[in-house]
């Protein structure tokens, strides 16, 4: 992006920018979702082993990817906020958390739906699902810590530090769960196993991932706008915005 980030790192100039951009990302998310779902549900071929049930992966896999990626982005913003003391980064980290948790939850839920026809059980302790579950706990910890601290500055800094601790631990946890899973050879299925992935399947999955990204950006921008208004409610520019928008 060729934007001058330093100019937009001040809440007062970020607020109108976010307001202009959010609807576009929302529209892009809707269009991409429709395209992705069409590709996934109607164009992609039926899997010869798993039948039609496999089509849930067009939601499951992108959601799982997003859940992990959002955590890293969140930790990145948290680190930025801690090091450079920029309030906007802390707002971003805070706004990303609920969406990350949502995608983690979706990926667990769809994983269970997929698991029932595949393994005959709603839940199996396979490495991927277990890691997702732990990731959900990490998100919940971040959100709860933030909610428990009243002072906004302490809340931002403490949860930022927690996000960094979590980000360092995610690879360790992921590795240890993999290790644990291979030792206790349970039922495990990998989506690339059994059938080579058709090109349309991959395209549909990538389109869905992009759609989720656009959705995330739209929601995060909107959430950051609310956050900015709330925190800066005593400042002059917010009063101006309020008088302009109520007129």
């Amino acid at each position: 992006m060729a934007l001058n980030w330093f100019k937009y790192s001040s809440p007062a100039s970020f607020y109108p920018l976010a307001g202009r951009l959010a609807p576009w990302f929302g529209v892009a998310a809707a269009l991409l979702t429709l395209t992705g779902l069409y590709l996934g549900f109607f164009v992609a071929p039926t899997d010869y082993k798993q039948g039609e049930a496999y089509r849930i992966i067009f939601i499951h896999v992108p959601a799982a990817w997003m859940s992990m990626f959002i955590y890293l982005v969140m930790a990145f913003y948290a680190g930025l906020g801690l090091v450079f003391n920029t309030r906007l980064s802390a707002f971003m980290a805070r706004a990303l958390a609920p969406t990350g948790a949502l995608f983690t939850f979706i990926s667990l839920w769809t994983g269970a739906l997929w698991g029932k026809p595949m393994w005959g059980a709603w839940w199996v302790w396979d490495a991927r699902l277990t890691s997702e579950l732990i990731l959900l706990f990490l998100y919940l910890g971040f959100i709860s810590l933030q909610a428990a601290i009243e002072d906004p500055r302490r809340a931002a800094r403490a949860s930022g530090l927690l996000a960094l601790i979590g980000a360092v631990n995610v690879p360790i946890i992921y590795f240890s769960v993999q290790w644990w899973n291979t030792l206790h050879q349970g039922a495990s299925i990998s989506m690339s196993q059994g059938s080579a992935m058709a090109a349309t399947m991959l395209t549909a999955m990538l389109v869905m991932t992009l759609a989720f990204w656009m959705y995330t950006i739209a929601v995060v921008l909107t959430r950051v706008r609310c956050e900015i208004l709330e925190r800066e409610r005593h400042s002059e520019w917010v009063a101006e915005v309020a008088s302009r928008e109520t007129r």
Partner: protein
């Protein structure tokens, strides 16, 4: 020595004070006053480096205290609302732990003498839980006697002290300033501060 430049304090989203400047040199006392909630304690915690100013900087010998770090903390002693006295430890043990935290290692005689000066003779080895509120404050204050710090930051030090202890503490502050030390003080009690050069800083006006 100690300077505050355009300090701003924010608690939650309330501004306690803004654009606060002061300068304090050797042998001077800064008397901070103002009504409750005007940010006296916040200012003192800022001067210790516990709280970062929202804007502005605090300089010690021309350097920002946050970059001086440990070396600044070695030259400063803070006496706050909380006594920092453990119930289970005796007066001597409490004082020893506190002195060691401040980077000093006084002998047993020095510890006992310091406690004796503050009127705790014969009580040195009792666990602090049997002491009264005022006596516990005295245990805590005794570390000022052994401190080699140049800067004393005292937040309501007279609380729970009787008249004789108040006079003793005033004497300590006077001696400290006479030696070329600096002190920052808040108090609600009517106590004349008859020490060298006193500068006054009013908050919340």
């Amino acid at each position: 020595m100690l300077r505050g430049n355009a300090l701003v304090a924010v608690r939650g989203d309330r501004r306690l004070f803004a654009g606060l400047d002061f300068a304090l040199d050797a042998g001077e006392l800064l008397y901070v006053n103002g009504p409750n909630g005007s940010g006296k304690t916040t200012l003192l915690r800022m001067l210790c480096g516990l709280v970062a100013p929202a804007e502005g900087a605090i300089l010690w010998n021309g350097e920002d205290i946050r970059s001086v770090g440990d070396a600044y903390r070695a030259e400063m002693v803070y006496f706050g609302h909380l006594a920092g006295v453990k119930d289970e430890l005796s007066g001597v043990e409490n004082l020893r732990v506190n002195c060691r935290l401040a980077g000093q290692d006084p002998s047993d005689e020095e510890l006992t003498r310091a406690l004796g000066t503050l009127g705790l003779r014969g009580l040195e080895t009792l666990p602090a839980k049997v002491l009264s509120q005022g006596q516990r404050r005295r245990v805590s204050l005794s570390r000022l006697l052994l401190s080699r710090a140049h800067l004393w930051i005292l937040d309501e030090p007279y609380t729970a002290l009787d008249r004789s202890a108040v006079e003793l503490l005033q004497g300590l502050i006077r001696d400290h300033l006479a030696r070329g030390g600096l002190a920052v003080l808040t108090t609600h009690q009517q106590v004349e501060i008859d020490a060298g050069i006193t500068k006054e800083l009013r908050l919340g006006s």
